[in-house]
């Protein structure tokens, strides 16, 4: 699949699953947005050697994945962009931090190895949390949530507009690059001589399109403000879900929950 098709597929797929009729999809977007930021904040606040405590934070993604009936495969596929960067930063830790801090089966584990694994798990949890938000909340709902917390209208409006026009411009860019590739077979990328005219033409066309968009919007009564539909839906149990996760995640942050529960049985 080409890069353009892949991008279009990913956005369309997320858009479809975020609008599915499931309990978690109907929860107020602000609750999901706040919980996601809260969860990521707690995850990254773990100390570099606190691997045991960090593992306890897996309960949130597991729970939401199950109730949201989401695909793990799609979520893991998203790790491909950020995880390499996290690995590059963490991979050198074992070389610089060689102090032994644990022993498993007679093998000494250095602090660097533990901090590297902790960093990678943090990366995975954060990406999963972001995926859970966007897979259960449409962009319109996120923008509604952003307006609720008084993010300026101008910013929210242009996020919505960018989202609307991404499909259109991705298709157009794909057509242009495809046409170029057919005229320059075997060439990797766009030749330097064509950089200006190719992207410049696309830019001019985009500007003209923006002018047409503006005129159409004016005809429909646009006066510089973009109204977002008010949300009247109230979901049963969403407030309990919110409070419960606030408390559970805080407990997991303070106490190594796995160790505590394991202690009851050993």
């Amino acid at each position: 699949m080409s890069k353009f098709n892949q991008a279009i597929y990913e956005i369309q797929n997320l858009d479809t699953i975020s609008k599915e009729d499931k309990w978690v999809n109907h929860i107020h977007p602000l609750i999901k947005l706040f919980l996601t930021v809260y969860y990521i904040g707690l995850v990254v606040s773990f100390q570099k050697y606190d691997l045991e405590g960090l593992c306890g934070m897996c309960i949130y993604p597991i729970f939401v994945f199950i109730i949201g009936e989401l695909s793990w495969k799609e979520a893991i596929y998203r790790l491909r962009i950020v995880l390499p960067l996290v690995c590059i930063v963490g991979i050198l830790n074992p070389f610089f931090d060689t102090n032994s801090i644990a022993e498993i089966g007679g093998i000494a584990i250095s602090g660097g190895v533990v901090s590297m694994v902790t960093l990678m798990i943090k990366g995975i949890f954060c990406i999963l949390a972001g995926y859970l938000l966007i897979a259960t909340t449409s962009i319109e709902e996120i923008c509604y949530g952003l307006r609720k917390i008084h993010i300026p209208k101008i910013m929210v409006t242009q996020i919505l507009l960018i989202y609307r026009y991404i499909f259109l411009l991705l298709w157009e860019t794909k057509r242009i690059t495809q046409a170029y590739a057919l005229r320059a077979p075997g060439q990797k990328g766009i030749h330097i001589k064509a950089w200006g005219p190719l992207v410049g033409q696309l830019l001019l066309r985009s500007m003209d399109r923006a002018q047409e968009v503006y005129e159409s919007m004016c005809i429909r009564g646009f006066q510089g403000e973009f109204f977002i539909r008010k949300r009247n839906e109230k979901v049963k149990g969403e407030f309990i879900y919110f409070i419960a996760f606030l408390i559970i995640l805080l407990i997991c942050r303070i106490y190594p929950i796995f160790e505590v529960i394991g202690g009851f049985f050993l």
Binding site: A7, E10, I11, L14, I40, G41, V44, S45, K48, R78, L79, I81, V82, L85, V86, V89, L92, N93, F96, L119, K122, G123, C126, I127, A129, G130, I134, P152, I154, M155, T157, Q158, I159, L161, I162, Y165, I166, L169, L170, T173, Q187, K188, G189, I190, I192, W195, G196, L198, V199, G200, L203, L204, S206, M207, A210, Q211, Y214, F222, Q223, I254
Partner: protein, 333 residues
């Protein structure tokens, strides 16, 4: 150059969010002052344009590899720094949500590293002064190249600083810097070449689309915003640089306690004290104003900047809270 959530700690994320929010607030105000309703759809379409062109591979002559566009400098050269900055925030948010490129917590860092420098430093300090008088092809190429290289270098440096302040990597700062800066020098040069090629084309085809071309700099007086800006820089300077020279001797209260109790820090033990101490130990991101597991001067310096940001945020928050209650009282009356 997208920072990931895992590479930063909440204190750094919060500080960068505050800095980016300040720049966004100023930009929103400036765009509103222009009172041009046409600009909003243009910003949306241009954001989608940048998003789409980021996917094009540009062949780098003589290397066999290809480069990509980031778009901050190009957006500013067309929309101006304020509208360009807001558009870049939209692009970064969509990238973060739909492609996991960056992270929600790291969004403040990414906006600062990739949008702030490109839009404000690139457009206001490089593009605009160079385009004030007669615009030539050479000037556009020079402004694009200098702008892209400089702003990417600044962005890469910020990534190193944010990672250092977060203390997630054992990699020495100098080594990290020595890796990041040269890579981004090459990336900046490619970005500069692409940007200049496009802007030269636009200049030849539709020169009126370029921002700041032929504009005379207005003789602005020493405004409130400038004063606040200078004060913010001075505060960061005092917090960051002067904290390096902060006295290690006890302050007045500690000195008095030492005289009275024989110790500068009173210790208490027992159930509730231990519980609170353990919570504090886990949540304190800057114990004794230094980064955790860091005794370095950089740690002290960053603590100063973070501390300054937190105090300012608290003050603003309290002021709003006060205003809110005052409003309520007036309504009741």
């Amino acid at each position: 150059m997208h920072m990931a959530d895992a590479l930063i700690v909440p204190a750094v994320a919060g500080t960068m969010y505050a800095a980016s929010a300040l720049a966004a607030g100023v930009s929103v105000r400036k765009v509103k002052m222009e009172n041009d309703s046409k600009k909003i759809p243009v910003m949306g379409v241009m954001g989608a344009f940048v998003f789409a062109t980021q996917m094009i591979n540009f062949t780098i002559p003589g290397t066999g590899s290809s480069g990509h566009l980031c778009g901050g400098m190009m957006l500013s050269a067309i929309l101006g720094p304020y509208a360009g900055f807001l558009t870049m925030i939209g692009v970064l948010l969509v990238q973060c949500l739909f492609f996991a490129d960056g992270g929600l917590l790291a969004l403040g860092c990414n906006v600062w590293n990739m949008a702030f420098y490109g839009c404000f430093v690139g457009a206001l300090l490089i593009w605009k002064p160079m385009m004030k008088q007669k615009v030539t092809k050479g000037k556009i190429i020079a402004a694009s190249m200098i702008g892209c290289i400089l702003t990417l270098q600044m962005g890469a440096f910020s990534v190193c600083l944010e990672t250092l302040a977060s203390g997630v990597s054992e990699l020495p700062f100098v080594v990290f810097l020595a890796t990041m800066q040269p890579i981004h020098l090459a990336i900046g040069a490619v970005e500069g070449l692409i940007t200049s090629a496009v802007l030269v084309f636009i200049h030849e085809a539709r020169p009126e689309l370029l921002w700041g071309v032929g504009e005379k700099e207005s003789e602005g007086r020493f405004s409130l915003k400038k004063t606040i800006g200078i004060l913010a820089v001075v505060a960061a300077g005092i917090g960051g640089i002067l904290s390096l020279f902060a006295s290690a001797f006890p302050d007045g209260l500690e000195w008095s306690m030492e005289k009275v109790a024989g110790t500068a820090e009173l210790e208490a033990t027992g159930g509730i004290y231990d519980l609170v101490a353990s919570i504090q130990e886990k949540t304190a991101f800057l114990p004794d104003y230094a980064l955790k597991s860091s005794d370095s001067a950089a740690g002290t310096s960053i603590s100063g900047i973070v501390g300054a940001a937190i105090v300012v945020l608290l003050c603003v928050g309290l002021a709003y809270l006060f205003k809110f209650f005052q409003k309520g009282k007036t309504k009741e009356a």
